[in-house]
Amino acid sequence: MNDTEKQDTGKNLQDALNAKSDLISVTAHQLRTSLTAAKWILQMLLDKDTGNINTEQEDYLRKLFASNERMIALVTDMLALNHADDPIAVTGKQQIDIEKLLTEILFEFSGETRKKNITLSIQKSSSGPFSVEGDTGMVRVVFESVIENAIKYSNADGAVLISIEAKEDSAVCVAVHNTGLSIAESDKPHIFEKFFRTQEAKDREDFGSGLGLFIAHSMLSQHQGSLSFESSPENGTTFFITLPRS
């Protein structure tokens, strides 16, 4: 294959990936619209806005609501996987200011934190700048997954603390700490496995696909970074996201 043919092949591959990505984005948007309508109607029925329902009907509606929530979570993860599977994106690295990125992400979660009256704050354990090199979209997905979990598994009126620290000159470490649900010893080896969810997580939230941490772990591996955690009933759970400094 000569250089021109190689360029054409590369362009065709990029076009195909873009088309696939666009198709998934549009499909996800349309799916979400229908799932939103179903969610709102089910909630109205459960709230008895349209009249009384008996216990059996309520039980069925709750199951349907939970099923719908699982679909919504799956669509969100499908969007994240869409990005993770794009080989072009992995090589498209940019300089990322982690502090700035985290501030933007907190803006996204203001609704979720207000819902549970959770305080979400950032603190710096060393002086910046906290700059890494990577695919901004992927790094964002990693932080979103970990922070979303921290909020989800915090008790109401709790706090999620995000600490940023420069590890010597070689890495930036972000710790996301929450009180509330901890991870049992027997579950710890499986936490980054695809579709794995702890029983406590299932009991607390009957939806979620078990893909979030798997995706985050995979994306960090592609960036020569790491994802680890500590968890105990006394101290809560802390996830550590480490990325090499640029």
């Binding site: 979400r32 619209t33 939103t36 969610k39 969007l79 609704g111």
Partner: protein, 121 residues
């Protein structure tokens, strides 16, 4: 009574949003596309705009941009309420002055009403 402009092209979702917010105690006016939204935003006394991003004629970002360029509209809070959630969309909405960005499918209507109440407090 506080007045909310709902900009939403899906008539079914618009009806559900309006119904819940009216019950909560707000006066609601609605627009189903960008052109209509830009006319209604000039009605006196609009306290908040609930803005979808994908609209049939031009998108929600254009509306945000035009509002920020118009002196009498620039201070009206805009809550983006969309099923888009990509980084570039959230970032752009924030840069254009949205007070918040909520992904519709992640919230119930009660939660939306509480969120609006907190913004208008």
């Amino acid at each position: 009574m506080k007045k909310i402009l709902i900009v939403e092209d899906d008539i079914f979702l618009q009806g559900l949003e309006a119904g819940k917010l009216e019950k909560t105690g707000y006066e609601i006016i609605s627009a189903r596309n960008g052109t209509e939204a830009l006319q209604k935003i000039h009605e006196p006394g609009v306290d908040l705009v609930l803005l979808d991003l994908i609209l049939p004629d031009f998108d929600g970002f254009d509306i945000l941009k035009k509002m920020r360029e118009t002196k009498e509209l620039e201070k009206i809070p805009v809550l983006v309420f969309s099923n888009l959630s990509e980084e570039k969309d959230v970032k752009r909405a924030k840069e254009l002055g949205a007070v918040d960005f909520m992904v519709k499918s992640n919230f119930t209507l009660d939660e939306l009403a509480m969120h609006i109440q907190a913004i208008l407090k």
